[in-house]
Amino acid sequence: MRALSLSLLAVLLPLLAAALLLAAYLNYASVRTTYLSLVSDRLDASARRVAADAQTALSLGLPLAGQSALIRAAEREVAADAVVGRVDVVGQDGIILFSSAPSAVGEPTQAFTLLGFVEAPVVSPFGTLDGVVTASADGAFVAATLHDVFWRLASGAMAVVLICGTIIALSVIFVVRVLVGRLTRTQTTARGARLPQDAVTMVEAVDAAHRTIEEKLALRTSTLEGAADAKG
């Protein structure tokens, strides 16, 4: 009985855990994707606003490299939204002209974080591409948010696995106990044999049918013997 319970639990508990944890992961992945998409949208909006400012100045004849006011625009965007880590204005040659992070000026542009990076083109009134505005997410902020969600879901899922696992374990032990109890419950037959209860009714029914035939055969045998005696 113990072996069967253990075998059942050994196959059912990992399955239960895998199904629930996978479901929890699917939920987390979905929240993560949506969150990163929202982050990307916010970065995009910030980059586009700075790019729009740059294009307005370009239309007034101010070259991109001379638009130092863009530093304030970039800093304003970073200050306005915690998710925006850095905003850079990049020239055609890929070198950062202005940035919310002053130390980055003069450096070649690169993705600040893998968790969110967008580009908005700066197009002159003549349709030429004069540069791009890049916005990178604050990697630490985004990672912390996702980390928080992950642990909330993971701890919740672990609790659910524990609860469900306990319920399954108790129910399997109960079902096996009931099953073994039912199978091994014995009863004494009319013939005095101890037999599992479930078999008694049918065995006795067949025995009864046999007895009826046996009595008929006995009667016929005695009739035949009687007839033979009478002849003798």
Partner: protein, 665 residues
């Protein structure tokens, strides 16, 4: 016992449902607290952007309520951000200037309820606020997000329950449970009035005592019956003889049991887990190969993508005859362990292969392992069943494969989608190793020389002799071969590739699972319905025509529904024809090629079928390269339809039918 199985599965299902519900509820809470503020920040950003446009217009002296194109700007913001409920511009007095809203928020009253939170940015003329841009964010954003996952979660539940079914049967088939299973089987049989004897089960304890007492009692009842029958015959008591015969018919008092042995069930779990691993690759394998594909031997890209699938199928088809002999020699159980481990290496290698040649090589290794497991598992059953029980034994094996075909693709798709192809292949390897482990735990050790089941390999002369019979050639080459070509070429090669441009692997997996679902439902039904010899041919022809016409859905319905209906109809069609086709091969062969052994006939049939699985993707890719995707689909379907039609014509050709029917009856 059966009730205990059902009780456990029902309980597992209920607990899983409850658990998944709890996780969904908890996820909704976490999503709400994370996403709603993020969405509100985004709405603020968008409202500020629109407000800055309005600022410019107001700066040029245009009053807020006269800004041209305001509704178009708001509508475009709504179109770009599908999460937003509405966007509007209002004056400082709250008077509506312009609005764009989803249908649920078209009514102004709906916009003022708690269903959406309003985020606003001021429209400024200098420092004076002259209006506001307001964006509505629905509060049930998290619920919508979690609801979008319901198909994946339902698929997960279905697959988990099916796996639980398999594993529960596996646990009951373990040697530790054999006494319990043995007693339960005996009591169920006696309760149903079945007094045929069971195979002996040894051991000690209450269960073993119960088994012994039932066996003794059954033996006593049978002895009594035999003694009474003898007496009735000796005394010439006809009436008692009739009564005893009736009792025998009702209770099987002189009959012997012909159930497949309990140990056979033990092969189900390893087979299920192993095939589950391979089936998981179906939705993403073609696109995975496509990403690694590089030009080789001047082949077109379509052929390059098809090549690893063709190589896999060809190895599986061609290696089976010698693997059968090999696994018979080394032991079926050992054959399964080694095969599963080889396949696991193959999956890991494929996952991390950096070149196209690596992918082909590791898929070839997986194929050898796959073929070894297939042959060894089949041989395990054949070795342990007598000819009369073999079909039922093989049924255990086939139903495990069909269950895997149902469960594997959707889970493979979800894993590939969420965790990537590399992780999905790694999980396939883990499943293959689990299959090896369950085989080690559950399968009884191989007994050398246990059964005389040695089957000789298929010879070329068997092919020639069989294919000289036109009806047999039509059945094998016209029905069996194109059916497999259509299945692998279309369902497992072309469709995943074609769908990948629009859908994620999870959706492709859900489409492919419909084949397994249809087979799982239709095959057992048709096995019973088609048993009458006269009905087999119509089923084969109808199945072929149904499969061929299934491709029409691809042009009738939008994707993925067209592909889903195509796969489903092919599943139904092949479910209709598979069992009758297999039975017809033996029947027609016995009559029209009597000089060939049944083993030889089936050997040719199976080999041709498996060659079809290799030829399918090759044919589809070749036609696709030379003409178009459409031509590839229709030409494969045409092969299936023509093959079925030719077989039908030949069958109903007066002379052929008479001869073949005589054989069938």
């Amino acid at each position: 016992m059966r009730r205990a199985d059902i009780a456990i599965i029902a309980f597992v299902t209920a607990v899983l449902l409850g658990g998944l519900g709890l996780i969904a509820w908890q996820s909704a809470g976490a999503a709400q607290s994370t996403l709603l503020p993020a969405l509100e920040r985004k709405a603020l950003g968008v409202s500020r952007s629109i407000a800055s446009l309005a600022d410019e217009a107001v700066g040029y002296g245009i009053p807020v309520d006269e800004i041209v194109g305001a509704e178009a700007v708001l509508q475009s913001a709504l179109d770009e951000n599908r999460e937003f409920a509405f966007a509007l511009i209002e004056g400082t007095d709250g008077q509506l200037v312009a609005v764009a809203a989803r249908s649920a928020f078209a009514d102004p009253a709906a916009r003022s309820t708690d269903a959406a939170s309003s985020i606003s940015a001021p429209i400024l003329l200098g420092d004076v606020e002259v209006g506001r841009v307001v964006i509505g964010v629905p509060r049930q954003v998290a619920e919508t997000l979690i609801r979008d996952l319901w198909i994946d979660v339902l698929v997960l539940l279905l697959v988990a329950v099916l796996i639980a079914l398999e594993l529960t049967a596996f646990a009951f088939a373990l040697s530790a449970s054999r006494r319990l299973t043995g007693l339960a089987r005996r009591l169920a049989a006696v309760r149903a009035g079945d007094f045929r004897p069971h195979d002996a089960v040894g051991g000690t304890g209450a269960l073993a005592e119960g088994i012994a007492s039932v066996d003794e009692e059954v033996a006593r009842v049978r002895q009594t019956h035999a003694a009474l029958t003898r007496r009735a015959q000796e005394t010439g008591d006809r009436e008692s003889e009739i009564a005893l015969a009736a009792l025998d018919r009702r209770h099987g008092l002189t009959a012997l049991r012909s159930d497949p042995p309990v140990t056979l069930v033990a092969v189900r779990a390893p087979v299920f887990l192993f095939f589950f691993a391979e089936e998981m690759t179906r939705p993403f394998l073609p696109t995975f190969i496509a990403r690694q594909a590089t030009p080789v031997f001047g082949l077109s890209i379509e052929l390059v993508i098809a090549l690893p699938i063709v190589v896999f199928m060809a190895i599986v088809a061609l290696s089976q005859p010698w693997l059968n002999t090999l696994t018979e020699r080394v032991g079926r159980g050992r054959g399964m362990h080694v095969g599963a481990v080889l396949a696991a290496f193959g999956y890991i290698g494929t996952a991390f292969a950096e070149t196209y040649a690596g992918v082909v090589g590791f898929r070839a290794l997986t194929a050898v392992g796959f073929a070894a497991v297939f042959v060894a598992a089949q041989g395990f059953i054949v070795d342990r069943t007598e000819a009369g029980l073999r079909a039922r034994g093989i049924g255990i094996f086939v139903s495990a494969i069909m269950a895997a075909m149902l469960c594997g693709p959707p889970i493979g798709g979800i894993l590939s989608d969420r965790l990537g192809d590399t992780t999905a292949f790694t999980i396939c390897a883990v499943m293959a190793l689990l299959a090896a482990l369950t085989a080690i735990v559950a399968l009884p050790s191989d007994r050398k020389g246990q059964a005389d089941t040695a089957t000789r390999s298929v010879r070329l002369s068997d092919f020639v002799a069989l294919l000289r019979v036109p009806l047999m050639a039509a059945l094998i080459l016209g029905c069996a071969l194109p059916a497999k070509m259509l299945l692998i070429g279309l369902c497992f090669y072309l469709l995943p590739l074609a769908l990948a441009s629009q859908f994620e692997p999870a959706a492709i997996g859900r489409v492919l699972m419909l084949y397994g679902l249809a087979m799982l439902v239709v095959v057992p039904l048709i096995s019973r319905l088609s048993d009458g010899a006269g009905r087999r041919v119509p089923f084969v022809i109808a199945g072929g025509l149904l499969s061929a016409t299934a491709v029409g859905h691809l042009w009738i319905w939008p994707e993925p529904w067209g592909a889903a209906l195509t796969v489903l109809q092919i599943g139904v069609g092949q479910g209709l024809s598979t069992t009758p086709q297999s039975a017809l091969v033996g029947e027609i062969g016995r009559r029209l090629a009597p000089h060939l052994s049944e083993g030889g006939i089936y050997g040719v049939f199976r080999l041709v079928e498996r060659l079809g699985t290799a030829l399918g993707p090759l044919f589809v890719a070749a036609v696709w390269t030379m003409y178009s995707q459409t031509a590839a689909v229709w030409s494969t379907a045409l092969l299936v339809a023509l093959g079925s039609a030719i077989f039908g014509l030949l069958w109903w050709w007066p002379n052929t039918r008479t001869v073949a029917e005589r054989g069938a009856n």
